[in-house]
Symmetry: C2
Subunit: 213 residues, 2 copies
DNA sequence: TAGATTGTTAATCGATTAACAATC
DNA sequence: TAGATTGTTAATCGATTAACAATC
């Protein structure tokens, strides 16, 4: 259920942007490929109510979800790893739009320390605790090779971040008090390969010929 | 269950690299934070068997999973969107290591078409069908702003890709024959904010003071 | 009012876990 | 042999869906 909240939020944001004031569980379900029952069940746990015959107020719904998902305040994060992925995240505009502030980008390689990534300068790992504590950074983003993922996680936790976003191609172990969410880029690609094979490995080999099953 | 297969695969790869020949469901479970029951259940569906008292052969297990996940052959993909994220993916070495080949990077902005991203030249969207069909590209990677995600998906599907990896910050609708896997970067960050709040919003505000609950 | 839509209860479904006989 | 570990069945758990009375 928690995994769906960001999707409701994103959708209701775009509805509001389009000037729509009310939305039914049925319509929500159609756009997000859920059942209306699931939508109602999910939203009934939240601290607001819909209205019979009209549906849910997009304004109240957006506000409620924003609060729940931390989108009503600035969330500070640091990125560890100034490789292609780390730099891309640091430069990605949609994070800033989404209410996140990147407080620092770090790398263990002395050769890249000091270089600029947008407005930020890449810093040494030794600076991590002071930045995290000084700016009360909540989230550490792990964007390093698989082999150093766990070590970076440990250092972030020790520095005092409250949660980890893991983009490294490895699983991270952390104490229960520090939640970790995996962004499974490589794993998702493999999952996709599996899904493609499962849905019929022969389909589409003659690309372009769509129908004649 | 499918979501765990890439994790088994990654883990058994690193075991093999470390020279380990046998692994038990118990040990696998510990490293991946599962129960041994789940591991045995999952692996029992695969086309190979463990051996009592020894466990699973890492060699056979790696091979079986590689085949299932398409890691035994080269998988061709195209990236649409040559922004920070798209370029980072194109340049990311771990994909090549993982057996993926990037056959092209595309962008709708004429100003960036022609620029180089590593060995690749950014191409116009009009070239998409010929590349996908010419090189029998299986996967389309969507790395564009949320607003154009669906349109790009439609064009990729029409070009003949068999599956989509969606990095755009929006949900993609596709026919059932074309699987989509979402890489939820922004949604994961929001989920993480939710998890941090749920696990006690006051904990750690005085960063560094770990224990005194 | 009539009808659409919520909130909620109960039923279904699937996934996880426990347990244990088989076996190496 | 004794003991560790698999494969599988059955039990549990949680999440999804169906159904429907309440209500605007």
């Amino acid at each position: 259920m928690v995994r769906r909240l960001p999707r409701y939020y994103a959708h209701v944001q775009s509805l509001r942007a389009g000037g729509i004031e009310w939305i039914s569980s049925k319509s929500l379900a159609e756009h997000l490929e859920l059942t209306s029952s699931t939508v109602r069940q999910d939203l009934s746990h939240l601290d607001f109510s819909g209205i019979s015959k009209r549906g849910y107020s997009t304004q109240v719904m957006e506000q409620t979800l924003a609060q729940l998902l931390g989108a009503d305040e600035e969330i500070r994060l640091v990125i560890v790893g100034a490789g292609n992925l780390g730099r891309a995240l640091a430069l990605h505009g949609e994070f800033t739009l989404g209410g996140f502030r990147i407080c620092g980008i770090f790398d263990s390689d002395p050769k890249v320390v000091g270089r600029k990534v947008g407005r930020l300068e890449i810093r040494a790992m030794d600076d991590l605790p002071s930045v995290v504590q000084g700016e009360r950074v909540q989230i550490g983003v792990i964007a390093v090779p698989a082999a150093s993922g766990q070590e970076v996680a440990d250092r972030l936790i020790l520095s005092g971040v409250l949660g980890l976003l893991n983009l490294a191609f490895t699983h991270i172990l952390s104490p229960k008090t520090v939640p970790v969410i995996d962004v499974r880029i490589l794993a998702s690609l493999r999952e996709l390969c599996y899904a493609i094979r499962a849905s019929g490995p022969l389909r589409g080999i003659a690309a372009g010929l769509r129908s004649p099953g």
